[in-house]
Symmetry: C2
Subunit: 363 residues, 2 copies
Amino acid sequence: MPIQNDTFLRALRREPTAHTPVWLMRQAGRYLPEYNATRAKAGSFMALAQSPELACEVTLQPLERFPLDAAILFSDILTIPDAMGLGLSFAEGEGPRFARTTADEAAIATLAAPDMGRLRYVFDAVSTIKRALGGRVPLIGFSGSPFTLACYMIEGGGSDDDFASVRRMAAARPDLLQRLVDVNAAAVTAYLNEQIRAGADAVMIFDTWGGLLSSAAYRRFSLASMRAVLQGLAPGPAGRVPSIVFTKGGGAWLDDLAACGADGVGLDWTVDIGEARRRVGARVALQGNLDPLVLTTDPLTVAREAEAILRAAGPAPGHVFNLGHGIVPRTPPENVAALVETVHRVSREARAGQTATAAARGT
Amino acid sequence: MPIQNDTFLRALRREPTAHTPVWLMRQAGRYLPEYNATRAKAGSFMALAQSPELACEVTLQPLERFPLDAAILFSDILTIPDAMGLGLSFAEGEGPRFARTTADEAAIATLAAPDMGRLRYVFDAVSTIKRALGGRVPLIGFSGSPFTLACYMIEGGGSDDDFASVRRMAAARPDLLQRLVDVNAAAVTAYLNEQIRAGADAVMIFDTWGGLLSSAAYRRFSLASMRAVLQGLAPGPAGRVPSIVFTKGGGAWLDDLAACGADGVGLDWTVDIGEARRRVGARVALQGNLDPLVLTTDPLTVAREAEAILRAAGPAPGHVFNLGHGIVPRTPPENVAALVETVHRVSREARAGQTATAAARGT
């Protein structure tokens, strides 16, 4: 089925677009009352993620409110370690927790990529959402990065000390961490390929914690494993599927990220997107990078800050507007409306201005 | 009084040294049993910080154990807002807490730099430590950065959401945040000048939270206010006093930091110190940047990782070895001993190798 609004895919390919496409990390989430209603109906977060019908329902909710240029599969980055048998749960009001850690030699030696049959609910969600979208906008599939999955697996959940246990392993037992990310890379590759087979139009790798590593350890344990995943991606039913990598706190490694094989690089809000564009040139699309906290202020502030990012990103093709991290729960939906409206309007006006200038110049 | 081991000061001035000097952020701290004993004697953290004699005692403790090349004043970065009357306290096992926040228009409008007389205990500690050191090594004075102080003042303490309240103010009420950092910059300038007058041989500005800001907000609210402080520093009894700035998470702004007027720039552990040196050339000294978690492993791992940093930093003068953030409490002191020994030995050997090579080449 052809995609009616393919602005997002065109921007990822650095092709000219009529406006700057925009979607938002965690756009289906707790800031939307309708999400909370579906979540309550599901009973638990994992029940919501594991029901293709309910996952489809919440995936489409933000698109009903806002003219976003892409949908993103509703799921969790920890589905893979859960399918490895680590026992994922989410206590109410707390972060993720695994019943078992993967932190010692024995646990890591016996670890294997999971049977993709155990993740069928994810691929079913992808095909359900694709059908429901009816080609309106592209659907983004995603995975946690091999290293970010390793962080949760070693720690047994989230961390309040910047994953000290993981950084210690990177220094003292690099062999163990290497095997862990290698297994994860194989799993992530298979996982994204199944999402592509089910119809995902683009895929994104979320490297939430790579930015905690030293530069040498980042290149060895996070960047290299993401490169391996990208090299292993197969074409989808409609051909090659573009990819985006996002390392939060990875601004210093922008050149490496631009050369790792992805079509687009996500930027967190600390990066100057204008400087980033000057550094990477036309090699990759850039995605980002409004501070999600700006979305908790007011519509005028949102519009002003969004315009500043559009101006900094410049007129070159290849900008996908997004936040620099996920939407926070206390975001008023009207601020999201103001953001999407501003990005579309201001980017259209800028292009019209360029065209007018070019016409006046006779070019 | 002349300083016997001035290696640290020479490295800050990018002069050749016989070895790479090393000191460690939070080198006087909870990983040392003798620190915990003094802390218990004092009764509370603030009582310890406010007693010049006890502050002197803990400042000197790590120097008794390890041949460190500098001492750093034992104090807290929040002494200034405490002197502004905000009521600083440390609950057992928790972070700092202020009785009053400085988050609204009225509180910020009436804020003023404190009378330096209220911080006399800090300056008395400096002169007490200087006397006790007897010129053995230089003494580093320090302050929190104007922006980092603002973070705690707005939040009323530490933050578990990356100072969302501060990032919101930066976007929605930049005028309020500007006034707050301006007042803080005046206070920090006076505070460091009093430390210099009392005998500090170098000063360091800790910008712990600048790295949470967008690039534009960082330049406006953190970098500019540190530049203002540096421009306001007066010479000490023995002449000009060198300075170091450290923005955790500031690797992307290295060029700005190298041009802000400081003699040295601190690097957190995520930065590749070799790339940093190539970017800044001989403009500034670089300080850093071992991941403090490496110090929780074992002496062999510590030695290997320290050597990697020395190698990456290269032979050019102007490297002060340090961690990329403060020592963590569970650090075994024998790992610190291994670190200091390795840095001194390996850097001496490298210089001897260079000299031998130069001699063999007849240069």
